[in-house]
Symmetry: C2
Subunit: 572 residues, 2 copies
């Protein structure tokens, strides 16, 4: 029984060979991650428009379920910035923040998202994530970072503002600027400045003082906790709430509660498209992180099993007071750097967070929201990397267009429109590129059996035998182009007796292209010109052999271009 | 001035060299086409839900405008079955048939469609038509033929029925069956049977009687006119209208009137998407026909100029009481077979139809609608060709899926959903196929410099040097696949020292794939394995040279695979 489950439950695999050394490494990693996660979880819940405890709850059961079903040994699952913002954008249109309806909608979103991921995993559709190209993902992450940081400015300024796009947010901030709270702003700027300093300069500074590297590392990661403690104490001791500083307030002291998502059909209908988008974004982010980390240790990630692991994590979140979760970049890297060896590190982190949920929550009563906003801003601004624009511009205009459109639309229309249009643009650009394939006329490189472009290399040619190398698979988008191309070349030379189509770069001939080849063959036959194919790949030839095209072909199919050339030029 | 216009107004080209022989051929073709078009135009107007004269008006001015701006010498432009049905489906949701609003909406649809085609032509977007694959078009035409024939059954049965999908139509017909009119049914069956017989057996029959071929041909084409005359006389002489036989009724005796489309924003908004779909379908049908006919005479069609010609024709229809038009298959083939040499044949046809519109319209008062329905049924059933299912099934499952989905969705959800999903399915299947590319390990064919798949051919290999031939362009959809693929192959053999990626079939390396190549290079470097590329095409190498990848590459880029092989195996 257990043997049959093994492929679907990776824990059965690594759990058997769990050693004491691995246990001790996992425990240390869990301690570090727990300390980092407490402020981050509170902050992301704030970003999602949920009560702070939702962020902690969303980190406990999901992390355990992922440890059981996921394949990455370093991935840390929980609330992440982008998904939190998408959650807020989605639910903000359905319910008012702070109401019970809002929280239930968040659970339902996690439920739908989990169900969708699980379904994709069972159907083994993990490859679909590849449809998001690297440049689109990079552009999307950068634009999201800008959006998220902007969304947090209101907490730093101490004003109320809203909006889901950059123009909306900036407009709303400007119009609320008169409500500016100076004390909140001071706290916010100090916290942000401190956190930036910790991230950038604390480690070299401590090393300069002679601190051992491990301790320096630990202290750097505890930076946000220090900011939390310092600002909480400041608010409490100086009674700054009376001055209008907004605080986290009462957080229930409890383990994750058992909750139920709503099963209302209307709510499902309203949430299903956002749930799919959130799932896809979350999955892509998670798999990218997991693959990056796995590559460093020569481990492998199974994208389909990842879908199952993340699906289970989201279902867990739906039933324990959380909201949509995924594998986060920052927390996973910290987990990896801290030496986590197995998913058990995640389970220990969950235990740490459960203790925090029960014991530490009263301590964050006076924690100012500005500090949490500072935590988010510092975290997401490290994701902003506009150099992708320059890199893709240098490399290819098509990739640049995809990035630029994704960034502009994400900022201008919001996160969902941005990523959807990024995918569509990438696919359209690819189709456009393949619709007008490069076709090179080739000749023999003297002294070899190798054929190259006549325009780029000094090669032997023969006016009676033309070889066209088609640099693209032939399918419906470009089938007609080839017809025109051959037609044009053939009408140019009147001494022409043979056309060889060099198929070394043709990886597919679909039914539309087969019809085009038949048309070309008919026309050349009418003109008394021979049509030959050379270097047709096995899979392509197999398929052509199922039709009567090889019989209709007025010339031959040659194994090698050199063979074709020597035989056909021998008579000319 | 005229010289500058020439590329955009093909008439300036062929008009100069117009000969008397061409004139006489064009006149004969025009006479034959006119006789065929009179009943057909009335019938398609009926199909579109418009008064019969709209069909004739839509054939006059558009045909002349196409003659001026189009590039095909044989294409006959006017109402066609599929576009007529799409018009009915679109406008039926906006206005009641028979109202003035309905007719104005049809003009507006033609106006928007003409504007869209013209815009596409000016932007030179004719290549977009290639996104409809041959199998999708074939499936769509077949399903449309079935839908159209079914939609005409109500006229044959003499009942009222409605619906835009096959289940709706059949359900509606069944529920109205009690209203069956026996006399209408008798007329309808006789007309349909006669027309099928004419189409299939009249010509051999006449030839058997010793009729000269030209006359036999002419009589066959006049078959529908004979059916029209016979049934009209029958209804008139026996006063069958009193028995409930529905007739065409009064048709105004007039040249095409000057009409104006509506410029209401609401109407534009409601019609713009259908107008785009109608334009695309019409354009694809028209270009397919034009290309087929042009190929027979070694002429060329310019798709971008075709857009301009069809755009002008539709604008003409919008201002002269017509509705959306395009190049029709049946009428164009007849025109071609009848010997039309230039677009002037179309202009003469227009004159013939104008005479008919003024002089002959009173004669069709008693023409039963059942006869027109029979004309349509016989015409469209010749478009139904289910053999495409078998052909694509034998050739490739992907093409088959595209056809089958297109047919089922067109029948089940209607024409617009059918064709839209056909396009989407084709694109997705293509992306899916390229997402898991064929990668072959190749070896040297003994005695040559040619490399083939080790699994298919008896070739020389070397355990220290592995050559992988990547049979697909590398782009975001499959970038990660290559990483996994190389990783897997490399971990298999421990004596491995060099990996050569044979790039003869790689036509593009996009930014995502470049990042994957960099990742592969890093990993192989870590493992002490050399990474080499061979036979990289010019355009691909140009692009790689703009990055620092060639410098980072731990091995070399070889011009030929044979060169790579000899150099790398020399040391092993």
């Amino acid at each position: 029984m257990i043997e049959r489950l093994r492929p679907f439950v990776p824990v059965l695999d690594w759990g058997r060979s769990y050693t004491r050394a691995a246990l001790s490494n996992d425990l240390i990693a869990a301690l570090i991650v727990t300390i980092m996660l407490i402020p981050q979880s509170l902050a992301y819940a704030l970003l999602a428009g949920l009560p702070p405890e939702a962020g902690i709850y969303a980190s406990i059961v999901p992390i355990v379920l992922y440890a059981i079903f996921g394949t990455s040994r370093s991935l840390a699952v929980g609330p992440v910035a982008v998904v939190s913002l998408m959650t807020a954008a989605t639910i903000g249109q359905i319910a008012e923040q702070g109401t019970a309806g809002y929280a239930v909608a968040a659970l339902t979103l996690a439920f739908l998202s989990g169900g969708f991921l699980l379904l994709m995993g069972i159907l083994r559709l993990g490859f679909l994530a590849n449809f998001l190209s690297h440049p689109v993902i990079a552009g999307f992450i950068t634009a999201s970072g800008i959006l998220i940081a902007t969304s947090q400015l209101k907490h730093i300024l101490g004003v109320s503002a809203h909006g889901h796009t950059l123009p909306e947010m900036l407009g709303s901030l400007l119009s609320h600027l008169p409500e500016l709270n100076i004390i909140t702003l001071t706290l916010g700027i100090l916290a942000t400045g401190f956190l930036f300093w910790v991230r950038k300069s604390l480690k070299p500074f401590l090393r300069g003082l002679g601190t051992p590297p491990v301790l320096a590392d630990f202290l750097t990661k505890a930076g946000p906790v220090a900011a939390v403690i310092a600002t909480t104490v400041a608010v409490w001791s100086m009674d700054l709430t009376g001055q209008g500083v907004k605080i986290v307030g009462a957080v229930p002291q409890s383990l994750p509660p058992l909750t139920l998502p709503s099963f209302s059909v209307d709510l499902f209908r309203a949430l299903v498209v956002p749930a799919i988008l959130i799932s896809i974004i979350g999955f892509v982010e998670s798999v990218s992180v997991a693959q990056t980390l796995a590559a460093k240790k020569r481990q492998r990630i199974d994208p389909d099993q990842e879908l199952i692991g993340l699906g289970a994590a989201n279902l867990g979140a739906a039933f324990t007071g959380g909201y949509p979760v995924t594998g986060g970049f920052a927390r996973s890297v910290v987990n990896f750097d801290a030496g986590a060896e197995t998913p058990a590190a995640g389970a220990f982190t969950a235990v740490g967070l459960a203790i925090a949920a029960v014991a530490l929550t009263p301590l964050v009563y006076y924690l100012p929201k500005a500090t949490l906003a500072a935590t988010i801003i510092v975290a997401v601004l490290s994701l902003v990397d506009l150099s992708i624009l320059k890199k893709t511009w240098d490399y290819s205009r098509a990739d640049f267009t995809a990035v630029a459109v994704t960034i502009l639309l994400t900022l201008g229309l919001g996160i969902e429109a941005g990523v959807a249009s990024g995918v569509v643009i990438s696919v359209l650009l690819h189709l456009y590129k393949t619709s007008r394939p490069h076709v090179a006329e080739v000749g023999l490189v003297p002294g070899t059996q190798h054929f190259r472009n006549v325009l780029r290399h000094d090669v032997e040619t023969n006016p009676a035998v033309v070889t066209l190398r088609v640099d693209e698979s032939l399918y419906f988008v470009n089938a007609r182009f080839l017809e025109d191309m051959v037609q044009q070349r053939v009408t140019e030379g009147c001494t022409l007796r043979h056309v060889i189509l060099l198929f070394s770069a043709v990886n597919e001939v679909d039914f539309s292209a087969l019809e085009s080849l038949e048309a070309i063959n008919r026309r050349l036959t009418d003109m008394g010109v021979g049509l030959h194919l050379s270097e047709v790949k096995g899979p392509v030839m197999d398929r052509l052999n199922r039709t009567d095209f090889p019989k209709k072909l007025n010339g031959q199919v040659f194994l090698s271009q050199y063979g074709a050339w020597t035989e056909l030029t021998a008579h000319c």
